[in-house]
């Protein structure tokens, strides 16, 4: 039986797809059979971030409608063994995403994979609720910024009431906080919420801290999940996050003030 993990946030643009891609890749690199599913029907982007946009033939909606088998729709990742991508439909109507269809697809995948990572769309509507409905664990991606934190709290409310686990009174969805785009220098100057502030307000367990990093844009430009870039702070931070998800104790990194050297001041180097 696979563990189903939803990557969600409420607010858009906080790094859900980047995180889903990096975490799914990280899990596969650690030897777990992993599939990452894009639930953003109409606005698919996971295929771009994973670098497989030209290999999409069938998608999740085709599978749900019975127009293609799961094996036809699943895309094998080129770089990473044990990793598959199930893209969202770009053209179909969101209503085609039915709970029964999703349940059936997840059940079948569950037989074969260790982890199913669901990349949720932004918002709290149909698609987002369906992405979280069957989850065992949730990664709530949050930027240290007021609207993102507030939306994350709304999502926590939904996770506690609108999931299968909640409806069946099973043990609740395990919630993890992932803080992204963290800028230690702005935190030090008092213009960004600290990680303790965000953790205290949302009151859930912190699974990872991803610093603001140029490597993230570089990675999505190239269609290579940032966790492959182990020279970068963000790549290392995602690898740490994956280790924590697997139950290992890893100390936090990249939350301290970074002094800029003379050269990077002159030539404008930022966080790697």
């Amino acid at each position: 039986m696979a563990k189903i993990i939803v990557v969600t946030s409420g607010k858009g643009g906080v790094g859900k797809t980047t995180s889903a891609a990096a975490i799914a890749t990280g899990l596969a690199l650690r030897g777990n059979k992993t599939v990452v599913i894009d639930f953003d029907v109409g606005l698919r982007n996971l295929d771009l971030v994973m670098g497989c946009e030209r290999r999409v033939v069938y998608d999740l909606i085709n599978v749900i409608q019975g127009e293609a088998g799961l094996n036809q729709a699943l895309i094998r990742d080129k770089r990473t063994e044990n990793l598959h991508i199930l893209p969202a439909s770009q053209t179909r109507d969101k209503a085609a995403l039915t709970p029964e269809g999703v349940e059936k697809a997840l059940e079948t995948l569950s037989q074969e994979y260790d982890f199913i990572v669901c990349d949720s769309p932004a918002g709290i509507e149909h698609g987002a609720q369906l992405a979280m409905y069957f989850a065992d664990e949730a990664i709530v991606v949050t930027n240290p910024e007021v609207s993102s934190v507030r939306d994350s709290d709304r999502i926590l409310g939904l996770l506690a009431s609108k999931t299968r686990r909640a409806e069946r009174s099973e043990p609740p969805v395990q919630e993890h906080l992932l803080i992204t785009r963290y800028d230690p220098n702005r935190v030090t100057s008092g213009d960004m919420l600290t990680l303790e502030d965000v953790r205290e307000i949302l009151a859930i367990n912190l699974v990872g801290l991803i610093p603001e990093s140029e490597a993230v844009l570089r990675a999505s430009n190239q269609g290579v999940p940032v966790v492959h870039d182990m020279d970068s702070d963000a790549g290392k931070a995602y690898a740490d996050t994956v280790s924590r998800l697997l139950g290992e104790e890893v100390p936090l990194r990249f939350y301290g003030y970074q002094k800029k050297g003379l050269l990077s001041r002159m030539f404008g180097g930022g966080r790697r």
Partner: protein, 84 residues
């Protein structure tokens, strides 16, 4: 003296303002979380009825539902405007 106070005064950091605002709004959101779905509608309709008789603002009305073990209490607080 005034000048000294002005110089000593420390500008409040924006992050701590953000934290205070978030603590308030999140506490409010969590209070609403456990309420039944009909509460916002009930609130609006009660406000409508009251407005038929007295002109009150949206924030002049406060409704809360407290649940104890075997009974629930619906509390309605309306601040009426002073008679002109």
């Amino acid at each position: 003296m005034k000048l000294l106070e002005f110089l000593k005064r420390e500008r409040k950091k924006s992050a701590s303002v953000a934290k205070e605002r978030l603590q308030i709004i999140v506490a409010h959101q969590r209070g609403e979380r456990d309420q039944p779905d009909y509460m916002p509608m009930l609130e609006n309709e009660l406000l409508e009825v009251i407005r038929r008789y007295v002109q009150v603002d949206q924030d002049a009305i406060n409704i809360s539902l407290d649940r104890d073990n075997d009974c629930s209490v619906l509390e309605l607080n309306v601040t009426l405007p002073r008679d002109e």
